[in-house]
Amino acid sequence: MSRNVSSKELMLTNIRNALINKSKQPFPNLEGTEQVYSREEESLEVLFAQELKAVSGQFVFCETGAELVEILKEVVSIRELKHALCPEPWIQELLEKNGFSDFLKDGAVTGMDAGIMACDALIARTGSILISSRLASGRTLPVYPPVNIVIATTEQLVYDIQDGFDLLRKKYEGTIPSMINLATGPSRTADIEKTLVLGAHGPREVFVFLLDQTS
């Protein structure tokens, strides 16, 4: 331990000595710009849907819980999903009431075809899902099963990453989750000859169900 304290002191001393000579700020009079991103005149829902599609994710807008249940049943049958984990209480309740009890299993995440989960925010500009380890889905469920199904509500939808961070800050005030993740589309790689392959190590498919809270 004592050795490590001295390592710290040594490094800090080296850094402080190095910084005795200050360098000049590169752009001292940089004027603020309101809009650094090109903004499209679309509603957040449409923008999110477009962007998610652009990164090969699938978007489903649901006016009611009943509609969500119906479409989810279709996804389960078309993709021949056998088992899924859904630890988020309110989603679990909704699904169990609607005939998904056999589909939702307890058990190890490694044996699941899909993970069904909530999120902390959706980012319209980039088609991203913001989640944290504080959600019932934790760290592994969003990335291990080959299919990832996210159920979000319209008030979670914000324009940019910055706005998503604001939501997080409000939600977890004071106690930061051990992991925060911004996920944008299915896992991918282009490491072999720049050929795009989906489902490198994480999910091959990502579905986002956006449940309208206004209706």
């Binding site: 850094i15 700020q25 992991m179 072999i192 050929t195």
Partner: protein, 460 residues
């Protein structure tokens, strides 16, 4: 020195004349160029963002001591442990302590240049720990026993067929697998590794002092998995990865994606602030962050070159560099290749051994132009050259030889004339006059390429 520069010269020559190698590299870089155009479209005012990014990195680096202490305080409060490592040896010894305490046998590793820098895999192997690279490109390179070729695209120099052949040799798969099938092979193989590994290693793209966290950017999900299943998560990160705070990520994530891969934002951007909390489902029981200096504070001491520490490792300057495009990543013989590698390596690893890299660049300025944090790369290279000459590490005749080398490397016609004659004349000859006295002589064709070149270019 003799040996390193000689190796550099002979390899650069071999690579520049290797049409296949060049073709693969160009194919990859062209694809990169095309996607970056798309990534940039997200910006209404990209120049403003680049300037702001540079201002932020300036602030983070100029106050590095303060931010490091702030990071330690907050990360410790989150339940994490900080280790200060002044050099690679210290970092490795600390890792060994953890490995021994945990009686670790296997580790999964996400892509990280800092762990390449300290040669972690070899070290772990020596101590009986099997360490598996999980990023597909790194997995391929590990299978082939090669270091990464490019900081963002580790297997850039391999074609699909090369990879299929490698997999067939090492894993016994069919030699005709497609890119998709090859990826699936790696996916299935690695799935089991995450779950049973004792330790997960990762690097970090950013350090966040205000929340006591680090951030990792990746597309594949292997870093997510490597940092979620194993009971112990160890991060090795260069101290220069500092930002001023969590909120900076909203700007740096899209910027890194734009210049790294041409995406609006990379698939997985993950902030980790410590081990699993009581009210959380899963995650590591322990998290260590090893803060690595390893020459960085030396670079910091030079207030002009300090800005090289602003680098976010996007790889754009490599892809834009005409020398890199000709000689490729491995020729540099360093962990960090391309223009940024040539700037920082002499400081990390010693001026005497590596100052030649500053001469092996064209000073065309492409690198400076593409850099998302506006590092004056070509000026810094020039500055390195100057310093090297001043310190007497590079003689005038060697300087002249380098300028001829650059011409030969960059001149299309010379390259295309290639063939037997040109190859035999070997660029190495250029250096005979300046080195002959002190360094072991190489064997060359009797006719001096240098002399002929001088006739053709009397002004030089």
């Amino acid at each position: 020195m003799t040996k390193r520069v000689q190796t550099f010269l002979s390899q650069s020559e071999a690579k520049a004349f290797d049409k296949q190698h060049k073709h693969k590299l160009q194919f990859n870089i062209t694809k990169y160029d095309q996607t970056v155009v798309r990534g940039k479209q997200q910006y209404a005012d990209l120049e403003f963002v680049k300037k702001r990014a540079k201002n932020i990195k300036y602030k983070a680096i100029e106050n590095l001591d303060r931010y490091l202490v702030e990071f330690e305080t907050n990360f410790t409060a989150n339940g994490g442990k900080v280790i200060w490592a002044n050099d690679d040896k210290e970092a490795l010894q600390e890792i060994l302590k953890i490995v021994k305490a945990k009686k670790a046998k296997t580790a999964v590793k996400a892509k990280s240049m800092a762990t390449e820098e300290i040669h972690l895999n070899e070290f772990l192997a020596e101590h009986g720990v099997r360490s598996v690279e999980t990023d597909l490109g790194e997995f391929i390179q590990q299978l082939d026993g090669e270091p990464p070729y490019h900081i963002v695209t580790p297997a850039m120099h391999k074609s699909k067929d090369d990879v299929a052949k490698l997999f067939a040799d090492k894993l016994g798969t069919d030699i005709n697998l497609t890119a998709q099938e090859l990826t699936l092979v790696a996916r299935e193989k690695l799935r089991h590794e995450y779950v049973q590994a004792d330790i997960g290693f990762s690097g970090a793209n950013f350090i966040l002092p205000d929340i006591g966290g680090i951030a990792v950017t990746e597309n594949e999900g292997n870093a997510r998995l490597s940092t979620s299943f194993p009971k112990t998560h160890i991060v090795v990160v260069g101290i220069e990865k500092m930002l001023t705070g969590f909120q900076d990520l909203a700007m740096f994530w899209p910027l890194l994606a734009t210049y790294g891969t041409g995406q609006k934002v990379t698939v997985y951007n993950t902030v980790m602030t410590g081990p699993r909390k009581e009210n959380e489902q899963d995650g590591p029981e322990e998290m260590y962050v090893i803060l690595l200096d390893n020459g960085r504070s030396k670079l910091l001491a030079d207030e002009v070159k300090r800005e090289a520490l602003y680098c976010i490792r996007c790889g754009a300057c490599l892809n834009a560099c005409p020398v890199y495009k000709n000689i490729g990543g491995h020729t540099y013989g360093t962990t960090y290749s391309g223009p940024i590698g040539s700037v920082i390596t002499p400081h990390y690893k010693g001026m005497e051994e590596f100052s030649h890299l500053s001469f092996a660049s064209s000073l065309c300025g492409n690198c400076t132009e593409v850099c998302p944090v506006r590092i004056n790369l070509h000026n810094l290279l020039l500055y390195n050259r100057h310093e090297s000459v001043q310190k007497g590490l590079t003689s005038m005749s060697e300087k002249t030889a380098w300028s001829l080398w650059r011409r030969a490397m960059l001149n299309r016609k010379t390259m295309e004339r290639g063939g037997a004659g040109m190859k035999n004349m070997a660029m190495k000859v250029l250096f005979r006059n300046s080195w002959g006295k002190h360094r072991s002589m190489l064997h060359f064709a009797p006719k001096s390429f240098h002399e002929r070149w001088m006739e053709m270019h009397p002004e030089k």
